[in-house]
Symmetry: C2
Subunit: 262 residues, 2 copies
Amino acid sequence: MKDDKERNLEITDLAHESAKLRLFVEAPLFEGAAISLKDAQAHYVIHVMRANAGDRVLLFNGRDGEWLARVAKISRKDAILSCDSKTAEQAGVPDLWLAFAPIKKTPADYVAQKATELGTSRLQPVFTDRTVVRRVNTARLRANAIEAAEQSGRLNVPEIEEPLALEALLRSWPKERRLVFCDEGGDARPIAEVLAAAKGSAGAWGVLTGPEGGFTKKERSAIRRHPFVLPVTLGPRIMRADTAALAALAVWQSVLGDWAAL
Amino acid sequence: MKDDKERNLEITDLAHESAKLRLFVEAPLFEGAAISLKDAQAHYVIHVMRANAGDRVLLFNGRDGEWLARVAKISRKDAILSCDSKTAEQAGVPDLWLAFAPIKKTPADYVAQKATELGTSRLQPVFTDRTVVRRVNTARLRANAIEAAEQSGRLNVPEIEEPLALEALLRSWPKERRLVFCDEGGDARPIAEVLAAAKGSAGAWGVLTGPEGGFTKKERSAIRRHPFVLPVTLGPRIMRADTAALAALAVWQSVLGDWAAL
């Protein structure tokens, strides 16, 4: 907890000197809105951050922009924030989904955190033939994504979808949404080259990464059969599943996303 | 331990069906060489992997290529491998250093692992004004790098340097080695654009990332004063120090490294 606390302080110091905290809330945000914190969030603010009445807090809800609020009332059990002024207009992230085969518990948390920092709009766990994990705690993924959104300055939280089998994912994938398939097979083209060729044509994108051990041959050809799929290679070394996912997201943002030159 | 074991099995299954393990060793490798495993490595092979006489093992030492060996003798305490045939000629990775401000213990391990998978040739911890960590366990970083090299199919292990103060790093930095400075300040150019402009001019490179909280203003101008420094931005979101490092390495490999089109 201490790391998060320290970090939250540092970030909001940089962003808005007066605010000690940056929180995602569900409630509507407008001038004079009173936000009553609940459960884990109330505990965090009261007992971990030890907030006092009058302390400044930044709030966002994914719809109404970012607001500067202050702690209006605080007790050992309850904290009520009062919304003062808008500090940023609502803004999204690029339309980039990550479909990933969940691996072990910690790496999935890690993927949620990192993918959020890397500006992903949706996280979609996928079950494949070699996926060992058979259950995904989406509430936990969402908690990790919220924390990362709070710390990264995002104004929204990525959508966390329930897991899908690979076949169902491919069947339901929107036809106009291009899917960057991180393929360990031999003939895929380098990722930067494939993405650069798509430059200038805006639109919706996704990245698909496999489990440890990779996709089976059968899965690889089933994936490649779809016209929206762009197979790419991430170089000659074998990467862990989470490394591959984060690397592909970073390269995408640098070529086609909001890290790219205007 | 189980994850590593499973993973090691999977990877070497893919690489060379007959080998159950891939190990980095210090000893020279040649036909008929007898390699006596020591300490933690002997323990791993004997008690974790439960190897038997005759089992196949892949070996590399960073100099002599990759060799297929077999377990010649094994007891509860000792394991001796015998080198049979070369399976790959020695090959390096691109000449890319990562200079990073160490953060907390787990992230530094993580950075060593991921940077190894991402094909970094040297890891250089750097102490900056806002670096909280004041000691770096380089033996532990090296152990993480070795494990990642074994699993990623690399034929060498990145060099792990002792920490340097930022000033000493800049003073001793080779003049001809370009340094990609991940700058949170406002006017740096997008990373893909800066790297694309350097395309075609081969050479030695490095990436520099800061601690949580970033570099101070004074540090930023000290860094930018050097002609070998190329300031870049990694987009509008605030990233954790380890995310920034991995993202910059991935983008570099995709534009200038061995993930790029020939």
